[in-house]
């Protein structure tokens, strides 16, 4: 197998592996975002999930810019992710003028942040759409067909993974998994705030520092958040990953 094929195989195994005891939804969704960037010809990716309380939540993103663009879609109530979630179907536009026609405000913000194309793939199982994977490109053409199919397959496997659990109906799984996802998301924000205050770092750099700490210590983001909150970790080297840990 080529390296790419190996990464694809590993990704599908990781996305299907949700029945482990220490399963962490946020880590899982970050894996989906990061692998989307590694495997597809895209610059950034982000995931929104419906939270069972009638709202969409940004759950994970490969970069802070992607996160901001997702929030912007929610604030302005326009963009490919929202259209995708509402319709349950993939949403893309052939070029920039078409994007501008559909989402004028969002497209301006997209360009400001250095992207020229955004499209969204549904996270959907049968009739239930639980969220969307949004991918961002620097080129204005949408993703080529083969990459698009791979991206959709990843989103699908991740959805099945999120919804699977033995002997409980899908809607209950949704309620319980999404509750857990929301709780870990909030815990992450609380930890970010604590770290930002202790270090004086801006919020996005505090988050980057947490992520690079998680990577270099081969631990989960959720675990790093828990340790920041309980005081086990009381400082992290600044968001710059090149600085050695102290």
């Amino acid at each position: 197998m080529t390296t790419r094929e190996q990464l694809i195989a590993t990704t599908f195994v990781d996305l299907a592996d949700t029945l482990v005891a220490d399963f962490d939804v946020i880590d899982f969704l970050h894996t989906l975002a990061i692998r989307s960037v590694e495997l597809l010809d895209v610059s950034a990716a982000a995931i929104m999930l419906a939270d069972q309380r009638g709202g969409l939540q940004v759950m994970a993103s490969s970069t802070e810019e992607a996160h901001l663009l997702e929030l912007y879609q929610l604030q302005r109530n326009e963009g490919p992710c929202l259209d995708c979630f509402r319709s349950g179907r993939p949403v893309a536009r052939p070029d920039l003028p078409a994007m501008r026609r559909s989402w004028p405000v969002f497209t301006e913000r997209l360009l400001e942040l250095g992207f020229a194309c955004a499209q969204a793939l549904p996270m959907r199982l049968r009739s239930e759409t639980i969220g969307a994977l949004t991918i961002f490109r620097v080129d204005q053409e949408p993703l080529a067909e083969a990459d698009l199919r791979l991206g959709q397959a990843m989103a699908h496997v991740a959805t099945v993974g999120l919804l699977q659990e033995r002997a409980i109906a899908a809607r209950e799984l949704l309620a319980t998994q999404l509750q857990a996802a929301l709780t870990s998301r909030i815990r992450l924000e609380q930890a970010k705030g604590m770290l930002a205050e202790r270090t004086g770092l801006p919020m996005d750099q505090a988050f980057r520092a947490m992520r690079s700490y998680a990577r270099s210590h081969n631990t989960r983001l959720g675990e790093v958040a828990a340790q920041i909150i309980d005081g086990t970790i009381d400082d992290l080297p600044g968001g710059d990953a090149s600085r050695p840990p102290t």
């Binding site: 009638g54 940004v58 870990s184 998301r185 609380q190 705030g193 205050e197 919020m203």
Partner: protein
């Protein structure tokens, strides 16, 4: 009705029910019992280590017994809900309960309890308690019932969180409203916890109290904290310094 509006409605109803005899958790449990097809409702305090043994409300003896049992045994749906941070829905205790919680299931079945639904009351890392619904007959909650149970759980989270507000500075829970999931509110909570050297629960209460006292949305105050325009410190007045 959208979720947050329902949570606000529940909080208003619980506050309006009035009467000095019944505590807010008790009034909430009574409301929950009448809104949902369940036989009993309980609210218990939880700590990071598990059940605290403190039952804040129980609509009947069996609901209280269920909570106390889990404290004694250290196992059961509430314990699991609190530990995992997710609701535990057990529509048929006889079928799957004994394998999951041997001691608890036997005692619960003895008490003729057939289904149990436990909802963690937590805000990220802040664990305040568990809302427990049980029923004499097996069967799942319907989609709309589950949504309403989640709304009661969110309302109960506000109520129990505000019980910890000993000096009452957090304002009335109903007036302060549901806890928003917006990122900045929880980032600000983390920052305030460090600024004041207090736990996250108290930091969240202080944030809500500040917003309430100033008549501002909590999200606005949170944005000021995150952008470092507002710092909380423990000055003698107990107030916050701009």
């Amino acid at each position: 009705m959208v979720h947050d509006a329902r949570v606000s409605e529940i909080l208003s109803l619980v506050v309006a029910d009035g009467g000095q005899d019944a505590s807010l958790p008790v009034r909430l449990s009574v409301r929950c019992l009448s809104a949902l097809p369940v036989s009993g409702v309980g609210v218990a305090l939880m700590t990071d280590d598990g059940p605290s043994g403190v039952v804040l409300a129980a609509t009947d003896g069996r609901a209280r017994h269920l909570e106390e049992l889990q404290f004694a045994l250290g196992e059961g749906p509430c314990v699991e809900a609190s530990r995992s941070g997710r609701p535990v829905l057990q529509p048929d205790l006889l079928a799957t309960g004994p394998a999951r919680w041997p001691g608890f299931a036997a005692a619960a079945l003895d008490a003729r309890i057939s289904a149990i639904f436990a909802f963690p009351l937590q805000v990220g890392a802040i664990r305040v308690g568990v809302l427990d619904l049980y029923r004499d007959t097996p069967g799942q909650l319907e989609t709309a019932e589950l949504a309403d149970a989640l709304a009661f759980a969110d309302a109960a989270t506000v109520v129990v969180l505000h019980l910890q507000d000993t000096d009452g500075s957090g304002g009335h829970p109903a007036l302060a409203g549901p806890i928003d999931s917006r990122a900045e509110i929880h980032q600000a909570t983390g920052m305030i916890a460090v600024q004041l050297g207090v736990g996250l629960a108290e930091a969240l209460l202080r944030l809500r109290a500040h917003a309430y006292a100033g008549g501002r949305p909590v999200a606005d105050v949170a944005a000021d904290v995150v952008n470092r325009r507002l710092r909380f410190d423990d000055s003698a007045s107990g107030g916050e310094r701009q």
